[in-house]
């Protein structure tokens, strides 16, 4: 099955390897984590709409209880159905994206088998707590999506998603006036927690609201292809 002996090129036999077993480059995998209802699925849908003309995309959802996220994406027809897969997570969504990523890796493989070479796989985690992060064995980069309505103290509280994700997305800025969230304070706290790591404030209710995040994905893709 393998062309090389595992000890000759061990990196080719791991799933973080950028090379597939047939020698081609595998898709860049980006995880989207964050609390329940922050706008992960909405961001996935907006990214698919923004990028599907230029990239071959597939999506994996990790629903907690239902297939709702996958079904929502199917209903919205952001991608053809064969490009959307739901993984079941056994009451522990963070386990499926961090401690035991086997079902998600299988879903990635199945998608690549079913629809051919992909440029980008978006992996949405089930809405979870602030400590949930993706394994590097599963994704190459991860964004953490929070929203202004979930409390403007979340950036200050920190946690691995807020402090360590490759991109922090603060969603639903359109709601800030209605819920009394202080966006400047959120930005200050986020910068304090994250140092140089980027933060994006977005509202998906506005025209092309996902543009900054889509540009960030384009940059990651360019870096991935150049590497």
């Amino acid at each position: 099955m393998h062309l090389d002996h595992p000890t000759t090129f061990p990196q080719r036999h791991t799933h973080s390897s950028p090379v597939r077993s047939d020698g081609s480059r595998r898709a860049l995998r980006i995880g989207l984590g964050g609390p329940v209802g922050s706008g992960k699925t909405a961001t996935v849908a907006a990214l698919c709409r923004a990028l599907r003309e230029e990239l071959s995309i597939a999506v994996i959802t990790n629903d907690i209880y239902t297939r709702e996220d996958a079904e929502h994406l199917l209903r919205e027809a952001v991608l053809p159905p064969e490009r959307i897969t739901a993984v079941e997570t056994g009451a522990c969504p963070h386990t499926a994206i961090r401690d035991d990523i086997s079902a998600n890796l299988e879903a990635v493989e199945d998608l690549e088998d079913a629809v051919g070479p992909l440029d980008l796989v978006l992996v949405e985690s089930g809405g979870d707590n602030l400590t949930a992060t993706f394994s590097r064995g599963l994704v190459d980069a991860q964004m953490f999506v929070i929203d202004v309505a979930g409390g403007d103290d979340i950036p200050r509280k920190g946690g691995p998603g807020v402090t360590g994700s490759d991109l922090l997305v603060v969603n639903k800025t359109d709601l800030a006036p209605h819920v009394g969230s202080d966006l400047d304070a959120m930005a200050r706290d986020a910068a304090e927690q994250r140092g140089e790591l980027p933060v994006v404030f977005q509202s998906l209710r506005s025209e092309d609201g996902v543009k900054t995040v889509a540009d960030w994905v384009r940059e990651r893709i360019a870096a991935w292809i150049a590497a």
């Binding site: 099955m1 209880y65 079941e88 056994g90 009451a91 401690d99 035991d100 086997s102 079902a103």
Partner: protein, 224 residues
């Protein structure tokens, strides 16, 4: 070396996908058949002596070197529920990935190449045990323990059952686990001589029925 491999393979944290499966416990909870530690014990004991015994014998035979593809067919024939056949192959494929990382081995590769969509989990378990330097009795113990460990963990999550009570249920099943593992090895030894027909074919119809109704549910926490 081999005892350490056994601990790694039997560890519930071994990343082989088992955490997303309840071993039929979610269906039994939904049907009101598991409500507390006493009914969990009854459920686990029944599963151990039926599905658990069959899985342990398949795993022991594979660890003993019986042809994995013949065992895979035997597993198919012994798994009445289509949903459970699918779950078992999926778990087998996931276990293959973890086993390949832990104990790279030509026999694992050969099985993965022959059945890229996944061999039945107990068969992969036996081949993985062999790759890790373990024997048939170790493989049987692993399979037997898994057949009750999965449901017990799931019920802690589903019912909020006291985790100490769930662990006590497992410990209480210790003698049964040992008996089942030994019976499985005896059967596997017969299968090595007489063929896979000698393997046990015990079944629990309620587990099969529960698995089918579970697979048809729109909302559930566990994949099976």
């Amino acid at each position: 070396m081999s005892r350490s491999a056994l601990l790694i393979l039997a560890d519930g944290r071994f990343p082989a996908g088992g955490h997303a499966h309840s071993g039929g416990a979610e269906a039994a909870v939904a049907a009101g058949r598991i409500t507390d530690a006493v009914s969990l014990h009854a459920f686990c004991r029944g599963r151990l002596h039926t599905a658990g015994l069959v899985a342990a014998a398949l795993a022991a035979a594979a660890a003993d070197g019986v042809e994995p593809l013949a065992l895979d067919e035997a597993a198919d024939a012994r798994t009445a529920s289509a949903a459970l056949r699918t779950a078992s192959r999926r778990l087998g494929r996931q276990l293959m990935r973890a086993a390949h990382a832990a104990w790279p081995d030509p026999q694992l590769d050969a099985l993965a190449a022959a059945l890229p969509r996944g061999a039945h989990q107990p068969v992969v378990l036996g081949v993985a045990a062999r790759a890790g330097g373990l024997g048939p009795l170790d493989a049987a113990h692993c399979a037997a323990y898994e057949s009750v460990g999965g449901p017990a963990t799931a019920v802690v999550r589903l019912l909020g059952l006291d985790p100490f009570d769930a662990t006590a249920v497992l410990a209480g099943l210790g003698p049964d686990l040992d008996t089942v593992a030994e019976r499985a090895v005896t059967a596997a030894r017969s299968a090595a001589v007489q063929g896979v027909e000698a393997l046990p074919a015990a079944s629990a119809p309620l587990l099969d029925i529960g698995a089918e109704t579970h697979a048809a549910r729109a909302t559930r926490l566990f994949a099976s």
